[in-house]
Subunit: 236 residues, 2 copies
Amino acid sequence: MKISPIEKRSLVDMAESKVRRAIVDSGLKVGDVLPGEMELAERLGVSRNVMREALSRLRMLGVLESRKRRGMVLTEPDLLGGIAKVLDLPVLGDRAKHDLFELRLVVELGISDLIFLRKTDSDMLLLKRIVIREESMAKGTIVPVECEVSFHTQLYRMAGNETLRRFQSLLEPFFNWESEYDKELGNHPDDGTVTHRQLFEILSSGTVEQFRAAIQKHLQPHIDKINNIRLSEESL
Amino acid sequence: MKISPIEKRSLVDMAESKVRRAIVDSGLKVGDVLPGEMELAERLGVSRNVMREALSRLRMLGVLESRKRRGMVLTEPDLLGGIAKVLDLPVLGDRAKHDLFELRLVVELGISDLIFLRKTDSDMLLLKRIVIREESMAKGTIVPVECEVSFHTQLYRMAGNETLRRFQSLLEPFFNWESEYDKELGNHPDDGTVTHRQLFEILSSGTVEQFRAAIQKHLQPHIDKINNIRLSEESL
């Protein structure tokens, strides 16, 4: 006899999913108004408390808003709000952190075309200032972490994609995660054979092909490290 | 006189943010137990209903779970759960969709190194089957959308990063978004000058440098299109 355990979804989970389904099925759009909490509770056959909890979740995600005299309105959310709320808390395991670190690397390796398409003169001026500041602070070949972050943050800005920019700012802590890992391995962060200054020069007067190749070389030590990290984390 | 409007955060918003702050400040980790709902409500000076709503939000994100006899336990969430819940609903505007389309493209342009690092023989066998199936279905140079999706989904799998793979499956609808856009523009999706078969061959017996260059060529028509789309969306 095949018998599976009873699904442990709470009433609130079920109410939440019913409301989602109803929004999709009735073709609601941003700006449309949902029935009131009391009416929804009655139609779903749940208590008002359960209904309120379910709707509160949608409000947190930014897809619903209570407006005076209009009721509950469907709204366009901050797409990355949910992930931001998770990254805020100390709940991610090493595997997830490593995945995010790789994701950040993948994005930086693939972003060159957007940067070339959208960079402006004022972007370049700002990037130049960041490079000059870094050169005044750097000791030998070691670039201070804060300079590292400013330079790459500015590259993301130049790509002209707001979601991508926010995504990067959420992933910024995983810069540090790698630095901590480096300490354990006895390494220090390394920028490969292409410096920020050289990347800047190519952006100023080079081609997108040259820039792609240069970013690849700049990030190569991080790519090489991925293999080592995996090996030493086999136990995960 | 400078005077700013009163912040419109609800009691539930404030309770949620207090609990988050407390989790971070008291150094709680996954597996640690939170005080009960009633105790938290008392300590924050809010009603039990407000407290329940705030905690329900954290449960939805997967960072809290109620366990029998143990109480509320801090848990490791599905990192992309929040974003998945938003993408489920018809609430994203064209700007956000366009951003996601670009993000997907950026990831595909940057993923080559991971694929080369992790591909296995059984991955390659599966990829080969996908290519053969496509060749039996394709009419002239037009690749059916489903073959397009299978091929690229398999590339993501081969990169061996679970977060990245889920991310791609969430972004899959934005393949279609571009196809719809193409229809409006009177174009059909185009795969550049490198076919899936050629990508497969390079993965079998080429170098990572060759693969990077080939993926770039394969995706070039999509990159070229970004500029056109932007121009025709200037009104956004």
